[in-house]
């Protein structure tokens, strides 16, 4: 169990912002902190890892106190068992993939874990490449692999997939799920990609202006606003065309483009790149079997 009570005044885009959060995170869960940019998501990860000190509060991890402002406890960054995947990967360009991983070994740790992780994340054939020569998706895998080497108690992922395209993203989500289960990790993910959150997380904290607005399972948090849809998908708007009287909005759901008619008013409020939910309320959807097994 991870218990977080964090208070901190942050410099936000429009002046100061008070971050004030309390979170209880179950062991071996995959928890997502969701929110707009500037809501304080990354700051929470930085405080857990010790890269930033809260103004006051408490961080307790599996019964051990890492930080307690009242008692003056503040465990050094180096002694907190954290795996951290940075937004910019932070791979060391002077080292090869394997050297990057070996660097993360703790004193007297069995170095065989490096080969084991290279194998799980399928990096064996890249292990002698310098990290600067890798593609974005490969760098992200190395960064994930490196974060696992020190056998962390908590894995922190700071928008790890935001810079990658859809295909690679979905593959990497599978890697994250795989290592999360294999190493029995407690993982905290920062993300603002809804499909990703639905796919990965057990628990969500919705952060707005430094305060947790809602928390719970993905469907509790995002689908509870009284929509009793017959079916619903989350997707991204990729095109918007205006006809004589209506807008036609193209929404990408997974790999399918769905065209939806919208009124002028709705059309004006939606922009390309917006995350939306496509819901059908009035009509019963058709169901068509894909394999006709009863012939």
């Amino acid at each position: 169990m991870i218990i977080l009570h964090l208070k901190k005044t942050l410099d936000a885009m429009d002046g100061k912002m008070e971050l004030d959060v309390s979170m209880h995170i179950k062991e071996n869960s995959l928890t997502t902190i969701f929110g707009e940019s500037g809501a304080g998501k990354t700051s929470i990860l930085r405080m857990i890892s010790g890269l930033m000190d809260p103004d006051s509060g408490r961080i307790e991890v599996n019964g051990k106190t890492w930080y307690n402002s009242a008692a003056g406890t503040n465990l050094r960054i180096q002694n907190r068992k954290i795996g951290y995947v940075f937004q910019d990967y932070a791979l060391f360009p002077n080292m090869t993939v394997k050297e990057n991983l070996s660097y993360a070994l703790k004193k007297r740790q069995d170095p065989r874990i490096v080969s084991e992780i290279l194998d799980i994340i399928e990096l064996e054939n890249l292990k002698n490449r310098k990290s600067g020569t890798l593609s974005g998706g490969q760098k992200q895998r190395v960064s994930l692999a490196r974060a696992l080497v020190g056998s962390p108690e908590i894995l922190l992922l700071d928008e790890p997939l935001s810079a990658l395209d859809e295909g690679i993203r979905s593959k990497l989500q599978d890697y994250i799920l795989r290592v999360h289960e294999k190493f029995k990790l407690t993982t905290i993910l920062v993300s603002h990609d809804l499909p990703e959150i639905f796919k990965l997380s057990d628990q969500i904290f919705l952060l707005k202006n430094g305060i947790i607005e809602r928390s719970g399972s993905p469907s509790e948090v995002f689908l509870s606003n009284n929509i009793s849809g017959k079916y619903r998908f989350t997707g991204t708007i990729i095109e918007k065309t205006k006809n004589d009287v209506v807008h036609v909005i193209g929404v990408l759901v997974g790999n399918n483009l769905i065209k939806v008619i919208a009124t002028d008013e709705e059309g004006d409020s939606l922009n390309i790149g917006d995350k939306v939910m496509v819901v059908s309320k009035a009509f019963n959807p058709l169901i068509i079997k894909l394999n006709d097994q009863n012939k």
Binding site: N79, F86, A90, F92, P93
Partner: protein, 224 residues
Amino acid sequence: MVEWSPIILSFKLAGITTLLLLLVAIPLSYWLSYTRSYFKPVIETLVSMPLVLPPTVIGFYLLIAFSPANWFGEFLDETFNLQLVFSFEGLIIASILYSLPFMVHPIQSGFNSIPVSYSEASFVMGKTRMTTLFKVLIPNIRFSILTGVVLTFAHTIGEFGVVLMIGGNIPDETRVASIAIYDEVESLNYRTANIYSIILFSITFIILLTVYVTNGRYMKRIWK
């Protein structure tokens, strides 16, 4: 007959200065890159002063400071038996101060160019500041360090004003090549002056050309 000792002395001075300055500049640049101290602008200004001050000003103050007639010079003389005026040791100290910006600026800008996340990633992996500095930061700014080393070396070879002020013209002690050239010209030995000059010209040309070729972007930034 051409004396080789001024050329050798110039290179000895440049070599020792570069080595010692590297040891001083790495911690200083590291501090300047990461500190949030209020003193940072003051220290940065002091480091950059030799770029704009006439060398004679630095030489003049060092001459006063090192003079055994003053408390600092007297203290050095009595405590360490060290005379820094008109001596090779004095030249080394003067050269270190005079070439400080040429070593500190490239290294500091190297540290600044490294994303903060490299150090943070290293700390999170349980590594100390020292390990991070030697294993992650320094290897990734090796071109900046090389630039600093080459510039300092070349700049020290080219010193004249500072050396003249606190070193004088003592053969095998402070009579470096640049001083020897001036001296030969004054005695109308143009041939010897010419030989020294050609040697200095060729060597500094080759050194700087190497830097431009290997690492051109940086030089443009400093000497703009």
